[in-house]
């Protein structure tokens, strides 16, 4: 007992540098978003060695919500939300059928589907851009919402199938039959027994899928120009009010805005996300 408490102390001390390592860049991001354009280049306007602004200002946030940068940022935010939600929805529904079949039915090539899904998810995204770019330019899908949703399905489906079938395989399907024996119709049995059991898996897959689509950069910069551009791509092509003014503060303000909802999601569902990520790779 004594030994374990002693161990705990040492481990807790070790946690401090880990937390700093994680938190310093996050604080830096926030700090930049609160610096005015003038303060940015002026070391004397900051404390802690240029780290934190002496006079925090919200002007960058104003800039991206209602000021000059809003025409760039707001449509991008809307595009990102629409594209990612659509891709998540379609991907989860399709993956659900596939995972259900894999875990419920006995058929040949089951293992092959899973291995193919995994192999496909390792395919270099950039390598897909070349042919897609060509087809999209010809068919008019270039710079449209569906033109991004389709490649995002390619990105997320393999992982969705993989993660969800991991969850589905833990469901005791005999319970469904048991319920039917007890007089429930097969639809009732499915709804009352299977849906509640499967819901956490579906939900976790949806969050992970959304993250992947939200994070995508390659497709976003190569398959859009200005109509369907999403947040990551818009950030990369942000330019200042004049060509001599670096849009650092505005970029970081936008970054904080798109990071906050994700962080809240992580805070709320960390346990499930961890379970989902790890079940996708390691037995457990």
């Amino acid at each position: 007992m004594k030994q374990s408490t002693k161990g705990t102390g040492i481990w807790s001390v070790l946690a401090v540098p880990i937390m700093l390592w994680t938190a310093v860049p996050l604080l830096w991001m926030l700090s930049l978003s609160l610096k005015s354009a003038d303060d940015l280049a002026n070391k004397d306007a900051s404390v802690l060695g240029n780290f934190w602004p002496k006079d925090p200002t919200f002007e960058n946030y104003q800039l991206i919500f209602s000021g000059g940068a809003s025409e760039l940022f707001m449509p991008a935010l809307r595009n990102s939300l629409i594209v990612c939600l659509l891709a998540t929805l379609i991907s989860v529904v399709l993956a659900m059928f596939c995972a259900y079949a894999i875990s419920r039915l006995e058929f040949k090539g089951k293992k092959m589907i899973l291995v193919t899904a995994l192999a496909v998810s390792f395919f270099p995204v950039v390598a897909m851009v070349t042919p897609l770019f060509e087809i999209w330019s010809k068919t008019g899908l270039f710079d449209t919402i569906p033109g991004l949703v389709i490649p995002y399905l390619a990105l997320t489906l393999p992982l969705s199938i993989w993660t969800m079938s991991a969850f589905f395989q833990q469901i005791p399907w005999e319970m469904e039959q048991a319920a039917q024996v007890d007089g429930a119709t097969s639809w009732q049995a499915f709804r009352k027994v299977i849906v509640p059991l499967a819901a956490p898996g579906v939900f976790t897959t949806a969050i992970i899928t959304f993250f992947i689509a939200w994070n995508d950069f390659v497709f976003a910069i190569s398959l859009t120009s200005d109509q369907a551009r999403t947040v990551p791509a818009a950030l990369a092509f942000f330019t200042g009010a004049s060509q001599f003014e670096q849009p650092t503060g505005a970029i970081m303000a936008a970054s904080v805005i798109v990071t906050i909802p994700v962080v809240i999601l992580v805070l709320l569902f960390q346990r499930r996300i961890v379970a989902g990520l790890t079940s996708g790779a390691v037995k457990g």
């Binding site: 807790s12 880990i18 994680t22 897909m128 070349t130 950069f217 962080v263 790779a281």
Partner: protein, 280 residues
Amino acid sequence: MPAFVVMVLVTGYPILQAVWNSFFAYRLTDPENRRFVGLNNYLVSFTDEVFWSAMWMTVLVTVITVIVELVLGFIIALVMHRIVIPRKTLRTLVLIPYSIITVVSGFTWLYAFQTGTGFVNQWIQWMPGIDANYNWFGGFWSSLFVISLSEIWKTTPFMSLLLLAGLAQVDSSMEEAAKVDGASWLQVLIKVILPSMKAAVMVALLFRTLDAFRIFDNIFIMTGGANETSSLSMLIYRQTIDRTEIGLGSALSVILFLCVLVIAAVFVKAFKVDLAEGRG
């Protein structure tokens, strides 16, 4: 099954199309002028210095980030596994970098190291005897350092989570027994903990290696490929989107894909990772 069909369609078709295109020389701006050149695109790539520098950069970044992430990720996983008090806080905090958009973390690190606006140069100057305003993005190695740092910061959480799952499977009674027998902490680690985590470590390594090999976002944001920091993915993007050399870009894509396949095959063979076994 529709999902599988869609998956094959949306990924399989581009793959085949890329292979097919790689045998032709043409630009998107001039599609009429399309001619079959056989393996010439590959020959051009292999004799191009830019290709080899991109290859070198890709391999270097992969090796550096994966090794550092493994060590760092393991330490973080151990701490998360052992501590009691700020456990939840730590877990949440550690997860945050992983959930941040790569572009965002790329910009954050870029600005941190930038001359003038960044804090890193300022902090370095606090150390005695150093008075430099170092231009981190002025050369290959320092650019590589910052790019790797950003990549490591962002993806180490993923590594830690996989390793944490591995740690959870370690038989704690064996650990106790070894301690009772007088084994040192290091001995327990090497003889008991690591062997039982082998599967988790291998899967984590495989995932991260394949992922790092496709590095793109961080490089695009930080250097745009300047100072020979272009990775293979960067090069493909430049050939295809900027220069619309579809044939050359496709050949590079096929090369990158083959590299990824080889890495995966080596892992599976050499370390006997059974991909499907992870499924129980």
